[in-house]
């Protein structure tokens, strides 16, 4: 059972990674907490659901949903962040306005779904199980692990090796210096928001599919998890977020399996507190973010 639980944890953790990457990317580049990231994730699941039931092939529905959540994230930047950012000292105001966006998106989803729990129709994805060294693993779990691995690798490649990636890192380190070197910061912001939104949307679809449940409040627990991930991994650190997500997934699985039920949340957030105390910059340091997180 232990190894089975670790597998469960790794699958959940890999989706946390997908979700947290966008969140930490936005923080790395802008030093702003995007509280509407959870709602973007939820929107991804909703859009793919309504596309699927209106007859769109599932893969197309996923693609459309990622595109749409990417655009939603750009909209979030334009509506909630841009004016504040230009005024400077936006850390707290941006948190507030992104909470505002979160409320709007969640409220719309609540109306659209009439507060019902939705799920992808049976047969959207074939349910098959394999026996792997005594582990019970589903086709969906394998696909999710593979998709997340490929996307994470692609994102790291994008950030490290391409011109765009270098611009992103330049803006993250020092926006003014980057601007002097001819980097268009606004376009970098739009790109990071788009990527973050699309990844969150995909995470929403995968979670909705994996756990047969799509509902307007689904973003909230993942948003709270993302806070844990980015604090443990180091706000703004891509590698840290991945390791921390997997760690969180496994910890959670094991906590459910072996510890008194109901204490999981207290343990996880207690852990977060502890890490903040001992290593305010996260266990894995922070690669792009400026220590302490104040905007330069």
């Amino acid at each position: 059972m232990l190894s089975q639980q670790i597998l469960n944890g790794l699958v959940s953790g890999s989706v946390y990674a997908l979700f947290s990457l966008g969140f930490t990317l936005i923080f790395g580049v802008q030093k702003l907490l995007n509280f509407a990231h959870g709602a973007t994730f939820m929107a991804g699941a909703f859009i793919a659901y309504y596309c699927t039931i209106s007859g769109l092939p599932f893969l197309l529905a996923i693609g459309f949903s990622m595109l749409a959540t990417g655009l939603i994230a750009i909209l979030i930047d334009l509506i909630a962040f841009r004016t504040l950012r230009n005024r400077g000292n936006a850390e707290f105001p941006a948190l507030v306005s992104s909470i505002g966006v979160d409320l709007i998106l969640v409220s719309i989803a609540q109306q659209v779904s009439k507060t019902q729990v939705l799920n992808f129709p049976f047969g959207t994805f074939p349910i098959k199980f394999y026996d792997l060294f005594g582990l019970r693993i589903s086709l969906l779990q394998i696909v999710i692990l593979a998709v997340v691995a490929v996307l994470v690798a692609a994102l790291i490649f994008y950030l490290r090796k391409t011109t765009f990636g270098r611009q992103v890192r330049a803006v993250a380190t020092n926006e003014r210096a980057a601007a002097l070197l001819g980097v268009n910061a606004q376009s970098v912001y739009l790109q990071t928001f788009f990527i973050a939104g699309a990844l969150a949307g995909l995470a929403g679809v995968l979670i909705g599919l994996l756990f047969n449940s799509i509902q307007f409040l689904m973003g909230e627990p993942y948003m709270l998890r993302a806070f844990v991930v980015v604090v443990i991994g180091g706000l703004g650190s891509v590698q840290g977020a991945i390791v921390a997500s997997l760690l969180l997934g496994v910890t959670q699985s094991l906590a459910v399996a072996y510890l008194p039920s109901g204490l999981t949340d207290a343990i996880i957030f207690g852990l977060l507190f502890l890490v903040l105390l001992v290593r305010p910059n996260g266990l894995f340091g922070d690669i792009n973010a400026v220590a302490g997180g104040t905007r330069q």
Partner: protein, 298 residues
Amino acid sequence: MIQFYYAYQPIIDFFLLSVGFGYSQQIALRAGVFSIATAGFAALGSYCVAILATKTGVPIFLTVILGTALAAAVGGLLALPLARLRGAFQAIATLAFVQIILSLLLYGEGFTGGALGIVGIPREVNTWILLIVVGLTMYVMWNIGRSGMGRVFNALRQEESVASSLGVNIGKYHIIAFIISGAVGGLFGGLQSLYTFQIEPHNYGFAFIVNVLTVVILGGRTTLLGPIMGALIMAILPEIARPLAEYRQAVNGVILILVITFLPNGVGDEIVFWFRRRKQARQQQHRASEKEARDAVS
């Protein structure tokens, strides 16, 4: 007037409670701490009062004082680790604090009643008591604002590095701000449980955090009038916008975005600032006309 009070009494009472929570949230923001811990303080205060009032013979008056003291003490303790953090990390840490409190309230079933919460709390609080406590809180806040401490808070909020270069012990003032925030949050949490008969962890969740934030952001983060204006608008809004009831959360969201973007000081603060500016302008005008008069004579 009596008729009006009779029909709208609960709204008036909830307005007074949210003004109280607003001051708890405001004092932290005022000192430049990005805290959203008020929900946690309120939960501590209300559970302390509810447990003591239903399970022990402690006089009601004393339970409120104990609840206030407990939340203040926890606030002070919380400030110690928070002092090492900045900005976004403070927000995350205080959110984690609220989550820990909530999950312990759910878990400690024997003591806190778990999800069932605590029922049968005597209703000892009415509009007049709330009015008096809000008045006293305002008086305390007013004194803090006028004192040196208020000026230090303002300096911390505006530019921490400047404050520290002037030799201000930032940590100490953050701890003081948190103790006050905890005390006020705990106090009104306690009053709330003596008003609503029953409490459950759910009452202090995300919705509470958002409501308190909205009150202070909408009203204003520095003046006494801020939370009053914020709470007033939030109390009246659902009444005049009944057709929008289903979209109340969305309306809340739109307000947050619009106010923080276009009226960053909040309605209450803007009103106070406008009066201050007018007063200043008048004084200047006065001085100018006096000068003119003197010039004319000489």
